[in-house]
Amino acid sequence: MSNRLSHLRRLEAEAIEIMREVAAEFSNPVMLYSIGKDSSVMLHLAMKAFHPSKPPFPLLHVDTTWKFREMIAFRDETVRRLGLDLIVHTNRDGVAQGVTPFTHGSSHYTTVMKTEALKAALSKHGFDVAFGGARRDEEKSRAKERIFSFRTENHVWDPKNQRPELWNLYNTRVRRGESIRAFPLSNWTELDIWQYILAEQIPIVPLYFAADRPVVERDGQLIMVDDERLPLRAGETPHMKRVRFRTLGCYPLTAAVESDAATLPDIVGEMLVARTSERAGRLIDHDEAASMEKKKREGYF
């Protein structure tokens, strides 16, 4: 045998170890499933970690009702194919109050439909640990976060006072009501994710691949008109453009990039010469300086 594990196999083994540790040490785990490429990789790793058993926890999707239609179809197909339990949680109060990205601004919308919804779902089911697919290379405050990241009873993260985390000896102790967010992909980069998807042939939402899609140009970003709910501004007419998405979320808040990359190797190739980071397509990160840290402190994943 080769005497050194390849880089991807090391990352894979580390993620599997983290998942098994969670399953063994906590009483009520859940896996946040956002349907994106990182979630796809995380789910694939979970299938590996517990084989021949099924992953001993359900998936949780916080549905804002504004996800791309193709994401929801992919989600339901994936869950059916793998035979897993899925919990879908939507903030019904938010829906009833008519909170949308257009009426209340992306910041308030995110707080109500994502952060509050997530916290409510975690509390409702009494999950003492939740897996997230966040990576340290995504963003500056994520680069600071532990693999086992402690949350108070109110789901608050205190970045100035994190538990030391030495070796692979994770402290999993929490009191009732407190919880841990566990990040098995902490040490993966965006390139690692794509390489792994390529190597393992992991299914991903087709929106990642370039196709002709109806878009409008808004504040310098390309927004896809995924359904009739997108209010068009004066002078906006949807037109077809060859685009794809580097990251997926709520369609009104997720910008497309013009691209011809229609296969995985094309995507990776495009990524290697990219001059902007993947989060540039996430409108909610730009709201205010240090916005990710603020959202994370409040309980966002």
């Binding site: 399953a23 340290r136 070796w167 000896l169």
Partner: protein, 632 residues
């Protein structure tokens, strides 16, 4: 597709190459303001890993928080927390990723401030190499020494000494060489396999990625060249097989597998294996993975093993070759880095996590503390935040381990405080203490049950806890009188009385209180062993210590009685005038005044002294005992 096919193939070839590159995990450390974050920002910038949108926000941040005038402040790339950017310091470790044509890197940028040393240790624990920065103007500081010592302690064997801000000393060769020589002198005994000193300027990029014209006298490698060259041989594969069982995999009655990550060595189907702690042996039937069974698996791989025989194995067990087992002991000596605000209390039970096993443990002795500046050994009664010592540890059950110097994966442990759940210490095992194996328990013919039977009672300790002046001793005295009158065999251990003998060498510091309770608990245990109903009247303010006393007893033998009297009431009674003196500052560490009382969460009996008097309380206790058959 079509025209891009060759291009795509080109990318695939590139990726295959990229995948073959080796990985180096390193940390940057050193004193505050030595330029660690700036250096990493520079590495990311020079290796073209800063995207346009990140650069735009960096320029904006630099104008707002930057510390280098109108220039881009590279430190802001890594100092990701709002508090860090405001204060211009690094609080916690940041992990960053970059690659060159030769290698991939994960770099942990660690904080320089002494109060964040535990975050530095967090980064160092998973690193293969360390870049230790020194400000050329300042030379070697206490924090340089502390970090170098911790780097050595955690087993990092490759060090680059980066003499930074060389431009600010006129790129003076003599300054550089003096610092390098001084460093080599004190690091001589640190066991570094390689130590290379590089003069550089992180801010301007001199000798970081490209050779500087400002230091023509320097002929060694640039920082990045050195990082690309460091040879990290994976010695784990050559070590004996070790795997800590993480999770027992039982999808159905026909499959029982043991999932875990191989810590060291190699395993193949047919290999004999032993369970380190029980000594039971079997053979490996298969190495099961999602991608099919393997013919062989080695260190670092996450696998599931099935065995030929049905032997008792659970999470926490260590699998090993029968002829090359790890040490198994309940006592060992270890280096301890203390990481909590609350000092180490010898004798206090903590949780100890080693591999996948968690047990109760206490530090029985501090052999010495190590001064991080002089590296001298000092006598110590405790370890405070960020202090390092060599200690003896005793665990509630035997654990399997190797010396940390031989195996980082099986020789490391952490301590967790049971009350706060915080990680309070990092430990590195030096060697097992043979005493545990050589002092055997003498089996005696007459047992506790025999002694209890002759007295016609069920022995137990009645542990009265509560504030000073709550009424513990009064109630305990009444209970004993009642039991005595009923012909029961009793003994009363009163905290105040014991301080004239058994515990008279102890004071009232937290450490002494822990030892006090340990001794009284042990004495009570002997009385229970003798078949007696023993009454203990002791403030015993800390939950963890009462729990420790409870755990030394058998099931049902520890009856915690909470004499619940509000502080105001106890203080108003003040039978011994102690509260008055404590309020006047004449008594230090007085429970309820300047030392906390942690009330029991689930006592067997709670006495509300606001509602019942002492006689009624005593009756409540006796009735409770009678109902449960303690009195025969």
């Amino acid at each position: 597709m079509h025209g891009t096919l060759t291009e795509a193939e080109g990318f695939l070839a590139y990726l295959a190459e990229h995948e073959r590159k080796s990985l180096l995990r390193f940390i940057t450390c050193g004193s505050v303001d030595d330029g660690k974050s700036t250096l990493i920002g520079r590495l990311l910038f020079d290796s073209k890993l800063i995207f346009e949108d990140q650069l735009a926000s960096l320029e904006k941040d630099s104008r707002k928080h930057g510390t280098v005038g109108d220039d881009i402040d590279f430190a802001l790339l890594v100092d990701g927390l709002a508090a860090e950017r405001e204060q211009g310091i690094t609080i916690d470790v940041a992990y960053r990723f970059f690659a060159t044509d030769r290698r991939k890197f994960i770099v942990a940028d660690t904080p320089g401030h002494v109060q964040y040393t535990r975050n530095m240790a967090t980064g160092a624990s998973t690193a293969d190499a360390a870049v230790i920065l020194v400000d050329a103007r300042q030379g070697i500081l206490t924090q340089t020494r502390r970090h170098s010592f911790i780097v050595s302690l955690l087993g990092i064997r490759h060090v680059v000494l980066a003499v930074n801000k060389i431009d600010l000393v006129g790129c003076d060769r003599q300054v550089f060489e003096r610092i390098a020589a001084e460093y080599r002198a004190f690091a001589e005994d640190f066991g570094f396999e390689s130590l290379v000193a590089v003069p550089l300027s992180a801010r301007f990029g001199d000798n970081v990625m490209s050779r500087s014209d400002e230091t023509p006298w320097y002929e060694g490698p640039t920082l990045l060249q050195r990082l690309e060259e460091i040879e990290v041989s994976d010695t784990r594969l050559a070590r004996p097989f070790r795997m800590a069982v993480q999770w027992v995999n039982r999808p159905n009655l026909d499959f029982r597998g043991f999932s875990g990550t191989i810590a060291s060595g190699v395993v193949r189907p047919g290999d004999p294996v032993a369970v380190a702690r029980s000594g039971k042996t079997s053979r490996v039937k298969a190495i099961v993975t999602h991608d099919g069974d393997l013919a062989e698996a080695g260190a670092g791989e996450a696998v599931t093993l099935t065995l030929d025989d049905e032997i008792d194995i659970s999470r926490g067990d260590v699998l090993c070759p029968p002829d090359r087992r790890p040490e198994v002991s309940d006592q060992f000596a270890a280096h301890l880095l203390w990481m909590a605000e609350d000092a180490l209390l010898p004798g206090r039970p903590y949780l100890l996590k080693i591999g996948t096993r968690t047990v109760t443990a206490q530090v029985t002795e501090i052999r010495h503390q190590v001064d991080v500046n002089s590296f001298q050994h000092l006598a110590a009664k405790t370890l405070n935040l960020n202090e390092v010592g060599v200690v003896n540890v005793s665990t509630s059950e035997p654990v399997a381990f190797d010396a940390y110097a031989e195996d980082r994966a099986t020789g490391a442990f952490i301590l967790i405080d049971r009350a706060t759940n915080l990680t309070v210490a990092a430990g590195m095992i030096r060697f097992g203490l043979r005493r545990a194996q050589n002092v055997h328990w003498q089996a005696l013919a007459v047992t506790k049950d025999d002694r209890a039977a002759i007295k016609g009672q069920k022995p137990a300790v009645l542990w009265f806890t509560g504030l000073s002046g709550a009424g513990k001793s009064t109630i305990a005295d009444l209970v004993e009188r009642r039991l005595h009158a009923m012909g029961r065999h009793t003994y009363l251990l009163d905290g105040d009385n014991l301080r004239h003998g058994l515990t008279r060498d102890l004071g009232f510091t937290d450490a002494d209180r822990v030892e006090n309770i340990r001794r009284v608990g042990e004495a009570a245990r002997l009385f229970v062993d003798a078949g007696t109903i023993v009454l203990v009247s002791l403030i015993s303010p800390f939950r963890a210590d009462r729990l420790a006393a409870r755990q030394r007893m058998g099931e049902g033998e520890f009856v915690e009685i909470f004499v619940d009297t509000p502080l105001a009431l106890a203080e108003s009674r003040d039978p011994k005038g102690l509260y008055k003196r404590a309020r006047e500052g004449k008594i230090a560490n007085f429970t309820g005044i300047d030392s906390p009382y942690e009330a029991p969460e689930a006592p067997e009996i709670r006495i509300d002294t606001g509602a019942v008097d002492a006689t009624q309380a005593a009756e409540q206790v006796v009735a409770w005992l009678a109902e449960r058959g303690y009195l025969g």
